[in-house]
Subunit: 143 residues, 4 copies
């Protein structure tokens, strides 16, 4: 099995364990991991009514939760294999995702130092690649 | 009824309607509105296992959802009475909130212009006032 | 001399040394420290043509430099007396400051932990207290 | 002349006019535009003592000024050809740039809507491509 396939298996197990436990990440139970490894993780999901705001589009809190979780899964597959603790997270909301649309959540590690890790996440509409939101996540990974 | 009491009644109805609909804000069904009006909204909530991450503390995605929702409720009570659309949201995570702890979510409107509104949210531990997280939220309110 | 007065003297010396050295903070040579101590620092400045953008108002890069520097001076007066290293900085621009206007830059320390410090900065128009910009600054202070 | 060459000529004139006027962007007088057009702009610069902080590395305020200015130049070359007004700016500082090092500032437009534009900026060490800082910039471009 290649390194990337191992990364993918590992992260699928992490996600499965997460969403099945009684915890906030059970809101991510529809998220499917597509690729994972070397500090990157790509997931996909169809937006449902459970994820919507009053306007019938993906709720900004769910977008933020996707940024938080998928970037953490990406970090788990980097050399250090740590989850870290959130320091700062930021999300720019560019375009709404409607209920029924399929979205891709693509997280990658920009830098892992001794103490801090920096990650970025693109959320795009799967049908045409339109960028819907971009998030950044800084985590403390030291002790 | 004073202006602030009217604001409080109004925002309680908004929140009740939100969390009862099939939507992402049903994750906020334990949130209780304490005060609301004049662009401000204060809520409280006990952190439960439904809100936790793997470390047994409030999940960063739930923190972000609180920042998003409570600041929007605050904005609804400002003069313009609009919800707006998210542009940028940022959260600084300072200290973890453990399961069982009671937290306050205090959102206020910093500025409402013709097109944009700027809000800030302090999340504190109710027992001793320790600041746990601070969020900012920029919304587009124009047409 | 009271603790706050000592803090003020100390931070005035830091600033004077900074702006006189050949370094980027020489752009802050008009900034006057008003109060300092206990993790807080307040400065004032009149916006001049040297600080302007093409629109004749305070340049966003100068606003960011004020957020960076004054929050660092505030942190120097906290118990740990460290400058730290920038991790994340964010600025919300709410209203322009015109050339000739006097502004206040009020930085305070929200939290100092073992590794990280969190600061916030309000920039207001001195004449009427209008909030012009708000910045946040996360610094690494560990070793 | 191709569209990109026209974009490059145009942005070089904008920058030359900016840094020669009495304004804050005169701190950018060493910045050289490499490419520009279609909503993107790449510049390079050698870090000098004028740009340094007390630690002898690029000052965070200068980094922020580069993010602000180069992203605005990128936006000027997009279809709408507007400069816009800053709404939110964020910078993640990953690694220091020492005096004497040459850096690249690569800004691109993520999305231009009717009212808002979203830009991202990578600052890298030219010698080896190491990512030093990443900025995001949201601008209001409506009327």
């Amino acid at each position: 099995m290649s390194g990337t396939q191992k990364g993918l298996q590992f992260i699928k197990q992490v996600v499965e364990a997460s969403v099945k436990t009684r915890c906030f990440e059970s809101v991510l139970n529809k998220v499917k991991v597509i690729t994972g490894g070397n500090g990157q993780c790509v997931c996909e999901m169809i937006v449902t009514e459970d994820d919507q705001n009053r306007g019938g589009t993906l709720h900004g809190g769910m977008t933020a939760t996707l940024v938080d979780a998928v970037s953490t899964w990406a970090l788990l597959t980097s050399d250090k294999q740590v989850a870290g603790v959130s320091v700062d997270m930021g999300i720019s909301y560019m375009k709404a995702a409607k209920v029924g649309e399929e979205i891709l959540i693509d997280a990658k590690t920009l830098r892992v130092g001794n103490r801090l890790a920096f990650l970025t996440v693109d959320i795009t509409r799967k049908a045409d690649g339109t960028l819907l939101a971009q998030g950044k996540h800084t985590k403390f990974i030291g002790s």
